[in-house]
């Protein structure tokens, strides 16, 4: 069976946190539990300060088993306001990744 995962083009993540709340709603997670998180990353070059966001899955990500069984996208993928998360097989995602710099693949399961 093909292994599925998430390709996240992190360069587009604006830090809006929609993925986190989408995940919490989908799984009805209590405080402290969430399947995806976003951190702010600040870097300082001599002439410029850069602000980026880094989304990553956690141990609680189940790739929305219930949703994907019925053909729906995972909750974070659907609601990402920057549309920077793709769900698919790791093989497909790896191919996509070649064309999409500044991205990462997560295989939570």
């Amino acid at each position: 069976m093909a292994h599925n995962g998430l390709l996240i083009q992190y360069d587009w993540c604006t830090g809006c946190h929609a993925c986190e709340v989408a995940c919490k709603q989908e799984h009805n997670f209590s405080e402290g539990m969430v399947g995806i998180k976003v951190d702010e990353v600040v870097s300082t070059a001599p002439d410029k300060v850069y602000v980026d966001y880094m989304p990553y899955t956690t141990r609680f990500c189940d790739l929305c088993t219930e949703r994907t069984k019925s053909g729906e996208q995972p909750a974070c993928v659907k609601h990402c306001q920057a549309t920077c998360i793709t769900y698919g097989t790791i093989t497909e995602l790896a191919k996509l990744m070649e064309k999409q710099p500044r991205s990462s693949i997560f295989a939570p399961k």
Binding site: T14, H17, A18, V21, Q25, K48, Y50, K78, H79, Q81
Partner: protein
């Protein structure tokens, strides 16, 4: 018992729940009469399936244990927090009697009708207010009307219509529309679009455009995700945006890179504007704004030479020392470059199908309620006679004049308040203590909301529980598309929609009979202008764009005679052109040309004060998970933004002995407020940035604590009475002076 199958109800979000200005299409999942979750609607062109954190948390908001579910009456003193559940009948009877008594004794004008900015509130509150006979519609404490109104007023004066950055939102096929093209550059002027849907503009449309090639120029005192990705970042001193706009106009005009054909044919007063901007050289503007002259030139050239380009602007523009003047100068930038009602420019924005749901202007009020009534009521509207721009443009009270009148009772006393969707003391009011003292003296206050908050706790005599968006029927035509909100479940507890509440009371209080029996009749009557009705729109998936050729659809309507009431080509202004020299401003006793005004409190304007308070305080930083003062009790959201957090530059913090995460006091001549310090190089060394609307719902709501509003609400450091000459804009929300020091033993 087996659970019944989940139902999906399509609707439009524009009310309590997410709370925001939105317009997102949503799927409401319902099981056994309860909302189980809310998701985005993939088929809705506004959000295309996406949804923000606030929208996704709606079910937690709806079924929160602290939500007020029944009408309440106060049984102790104001602020004691003693409430008794009553029936709707008792609530309506009490309100009817009290408001009628006040009207008989003092006149209808002595009751003010107070709203905030959330929910679909403009329609219901004006409907009730005009039925009762009061002219006093107001956002209490919103100093200088500093939220969108100055920008709207400036655009109305300059070009007769409003404009917004064109991200294809006026076309149903959106980014695939053949007539649309992405802006080559987008100037992000004083806004963080990732944090929400300000002014009905879905923030992530900017991201969508970036993916289609749009480049950014950003004007922001902070470093942000957007400045990181901008070709030019103008990191300015807060409060100086007007100077930057004038400096850019100077460059574009003097270098001859404006759209000469458009200016020649469609603009009025170019020579006067050219003369005016001569004094604002980039070098002079650099001294005012901290932005290097060469960067101002670069930004101006990139914007002017790359057509189409668009400007997307935020609320700080309104809160500049002369908000309506700053907005005018920015409007001139898109005017002289011909970026008006063109694809990928600043498209003319009109309410879809000509339907009015939220009457922004006096003209729309007149259309809904008749010229005679509006004219008669204008005579007594608070502040209207002091400010011609307010009298002639927007049917609102001037809030800085109101606070004086509340205190002095002159020219007539204010006796009652109807407050709906507005946490005045914990939210928008500058100097909330002053408003607390003044409003506490009122004879009768009704409060309509969903949760107790500092304002309801301090002031309410009757609390009416309002419904969330999933529990109500409503309609929306804030720009595009025209939409309806569908009731997915009955009101939780006994909650009722703002429309239901206000229609019932309007029937009881009206001096002439109300023609609607039900809210549905009212909605269908308003939708008649769009040649449709509630059921038709619902059947279409809750939204519709106007037909081809309709005057609420782009582009180039000024060429086609679609903007003026007389159907002639041109703009709906006295000269029929875009007025760079504004005849309307002149008629209203204002300078017809833009100019720069320094903030009252700044290192330049008040150097002595700056010695004691050396940092510039700018407030109102948006959080992507809260809408203004809402949502602090929603666990999914609060977990993501748990503390009131001010941003302070790392080097500055080091000199003050402040570490990341320390609790600090931000202090100025008006008081001090407690926040956690986020120590970060993204902050300018001389600027402290603070969020607004913080109170702690988990703490004691009773007086004197009032949910800790006096400790954490940054508006305790702002003040009233700084309004600009127009009455619009000009206050210290965005630029004042402060100092910051660590609270000893304050690290958690």
């Amino acid at each position: 018992m087996a659970k019944s199958k989940e139902n999906i109800v399509l609707s439009t979000l524009w009310s309590a729940g997410c709370g925001s200005h939105g317009g997102c299409g949503c799927e409401i999942y319902v099981q056994d009469g309860k909302v189980t979750r809310v998701e985005g609607d993939k088929n809705h062109p506004f959000n295309q399936g996406r949804l923000c954190a606030k929208g996704l948390a709606i079910s937690q908001y709806m079924y929160h244990p602290d939500r007020v579910l029944y009408p309440l009456k106060r049984v102790g003193e104001r602020g004691e927090g003693k409430w008794q559940r009553i029936t709707w009948d008792e609530a309506y009877d009490t309100i009817e009697k009290k408001l009628k008594d006040i009207r008989t004794k003092y006149g209808a004008e002595s009751v003010i009708f107070c709203q905030g900015t959330g929910r679909d509130i403009g329609g219901p509150i004006t409907f009730l207010m005009y039925a009762y006979g009061s002219p006093n519609w107001v956002q209490v404490g919103l100093a200088g009307h500093a939220c969108y109104t100055p920008r709207l007023g400036a655009m109305f004066a300059t070009q007769g219509q409003y404009s917004v950055a064109d991200c294809s939102q006026f076309l149903e096929k959106r980014y695939d529309s053949p007539e649309w093209t992405p802006p080559k550059y987008i100037i992000m002027w004083a806004q963080n679009p990732a944090a929400g849907c300000h002014d009905g503009f879905y923030g992530h449309w900017i991201i969508d455009c970036m993916k289609r090639g749009s480049k950014l120029i950003t004007i922001d005192p902070r470093a942000t995700w957007f400045t990181t990705r901008s070709e030019v970042h103008l990191q300015n001193r807060p409060g100086t945006d007007g100077a930057i706009a004038l400096g850019m106009l100077n460059v574009i005009i003097n270098e001859g890179i404006y759209d000469k054909a458009f200016v020649e044919k469609w603009c009025y007063g170019f020579d006067e504007l050219k003369e005016r901007v001569q004094e604002y050289t980039p070098e002079k503007v650099e001294k005012i704004s901290w932005v290097p002259a060469d960067l101002i030139r670069k930004a101006a050239r990139l914007y002017a030479k790359n057509k189409p380009s668009a400007i997307q602007w935020g609320e700080p523009v309104d809160a500049m020392p002369a908000g309506s003047v700053v907005a005018q100068a920015i409007n001139h930038l898109w005017a002289i470059t011909g970026n008006i009602d063109n694809p990928g420019g600043n498209v003319i924005a009109r309410n879809s199908h000509g339907v009015t749901t939220y009457p922004f202007s006096s003209a729309e009020l007149t259309k809904l309620y008749g010229a005679d009534l509006v004219k008669k009521l204008n005579e007594k509207r608070i502040g209207a006679n002091d400010y011609p721009m307010i009298k002639n443009f927007r049917g609102w009270v001037q809030p800085d004049v109101l606070i004086n009148q509340l205190e002095t009772g002159k020219p007539y006393p204010v006796k009652g308040a109807w407050i709906q969707t507005s946490n005045i003391l914990g939210g928008q009011a500058a100097d909330p203590r002053r408003h607390y003292n003044a409003m506490k003296k009122l004879d009768f206050i009704v409060y309509v909301d969903l949760f107790q908050n500092p304002t309801s706790m301090a002031l309410a005599d009757i609390f009416l529980p309002a419904a969330t968006i999933c529990e109500k029927e409503s309609f929306r035509s804030w720009w595009q598309p025209l939409g309806v909100s569908v009731k997915a479940v009955n009101g939780v507890g006994e909650a009722k929609s703002d429309w239901d509440i206000n229609l019932e009371l309007a029937k009881r209080l009206a001096t002439t009979p109300i023609k609607y029996n039900t809210v549905r009749e009212l909605i269908d009557d308003r939708l008649k202008d769009g040649n449709t009705n509630f059921e038709k729109l619902k059947a279409k998936g809750c939204w519709e764009y106007p037909p081809e050729g309709h005057n609420t659809r782009p582009y180039y309507r000024y060429e086609k005679g679609l903007l003026r009431t007389d159907s002639k080509p041109g703009f709906e202004t006295p000269s029929g052109k875009v007025e760079l020299f504004s005849k309307r401003y002149e008629e209203w006793g204002l300078d017809p040309l833009p100019y720069y005004e320094e903030p009252k409190e700044s290192p330049t304007a008040s150097p002595d004060l700056a010695k004691k308070y050396p940092l510039i305080l700018t407030t109102g930083r948006r959080s992507p998970v809260f809408f203004h003062s809402e949502h602090r009790m929603i666990p999914w959201l609060r977990e993501l933004d748990p503390f009131p957090m001010c941003e302070i530059n790392d080097k500055t913090a080091a000199t003050l002995g402040i570490d990341n995460g320390d609790w600090v006091y931000i202090e100025n001549t008006r008081g001090k407020v407690k926040m956690k310090a986020k120590v970060t190089p993204t902050s300018h060394p001389q600027v402290v940035t603070a969020p607004h609307g913080w109170w702690l719902p988990e703490t004691d709501g009773k007086e004197p604590n009032l949910f800790s509003t006096w400790e954490y609400n940054i508006n305790n450091l702002t003040s009233m009475g700084n309004q600009a000459k127009s009455g619009f804009g000009g206050t210290d929300y965005r630029s004042s002076l402060c100092r910051v020091h660590k609270i000893e033993g304050g690290k958690e």
